[in-house]
Amino acid sequence: MNGKEIVFALLGVVTVGAGFMVVTTRQLVHAALWLVLSFGALAGGYLVLTAEFVAWVQVLIYVGAVVVLLLFGIMLTRAPIGESADLDSGNRWVAAAVAAATAAVLVTVMVMGFGDTRMPLRAGGGSADELGAGVFRTWVLPFEVLSVLLLASLVGAIVLSRTDIGAAPQRRPGRSARPGPGGGAARPRRTVRPGSGAGADAGTRPGGAARPEDGAGAETGPGGDEEGG
């Protein structure tokens, strides 16, 4: 066990320990912060494995972007800041058994399969130079496809997050006239008009009664969470 292995083992212990805290802590925000530690230690592990560029991309994307996005999600869903008791499901012990079985199988396979395999660590194998040449020479087609995928996910996230576009909402049958902009406030009053019948009105209410007009939904969003995605 030489120096590299010791360093990697320590970083691996930090990674797995922080990951354990992520899945067991009772505070949501702390889970995201433990995730930072886990990803950071894993980036250190990449550095030990001479994959420098992957390590910095890991720091930039995961620690810089993904965790911040997760924290935004935690805030926008109004999660409790302190401890919350019901973060774990009822089938927690079954999940623990499944995870332990998975770990046992995977670790056994890895140790039996690669127990005596050594790998050479040579500096420079994962530098930005090498990886850039690899990406833009050999793997340029997957790279372009991936940029299209990123664009698609960007558009998808915007479409999912906006409230004034999307699929046509369910309208009440027989009432096709829509009020103009600004009529949204007077609209719920009209749903209890005695002409339409109380039973039918209550049945169709969740789909259509509160249809937001274009101007009505904008000011009701507390905190502006329509831009969250």
């Binding site: 995730l35 993904v66 997760l70 999600g73 869903t77 019901d86 999940a95 990406v135 997050s161 369910q170």
Partner: protein, 150 residues
């Protein structure tokens, strides 16, 4: 360096992610556990890239691609989670039972007055930030749980 170290760390990280996905109730925590699993896969890719001394650096390039896909996944996943929260006032995956077969339709706290049409209503109301808020204000909709109050 032995190949066992990174692969064992990756295996443990993956099983932690499995535990998190199965045991957590908050949808954002489930997304975090998915990220843990993706990182385990990345570690394996990098380790075997170094092990086989790939001339094309397929493993590390694929790791970069996986990171990008994970970023896209987390963006879309959070958008979906926020949409669910906007419609149902909860992101508790144990309570989102609108698509369950052997339960009564509708979520436990989902406020589906129409009973079994929860899935259809979700699509119809997906574009509306206003409806749940208006009906909640009118007392006809789901009350937000007390610990979720801002």
């Amino acid at each position: 360096m032995h190949l066992v170290y990174p692969t064992v760390v990756a295996a443990l990280l993956f099983s932690l992610g499995v535990y998190g996905v199965l045991a957590r109730r908050n949808a954002i925590l489930v997304l975090m556990s998915v990220e843990l699993m993706l990182n385990a896969v990345n570690l394996n890719l990098v380790a075997f890239d170094i092990r086989f001394r790939d001339r094309l650096h397929g493993g590390q390039v694929l790791t970069l691609f996986t990171i990008v896909i994970a970023a896209a996944e987390i963006g879309l996943g959070l958008a979906i989670v926020l949409l669910v929260y906007r419609n149902r006032r909860t992101i508790d995956v144990d309570r989102l039972r609108a698509l369950s077969e052997h339960e009564t339709g509708g979520d436990e706290t989902g406020g589906d007055e129409t009973g079994g049409t929860g899935a259809d209503g979700a699509i119809g109301r997906a574009t509306a930030a206003g409806p749940v808020r208006e009906t909640a204000a009118a007392g006809a909709g789901p009350e937000p749980r007390p610990e979720e109050a801002p």
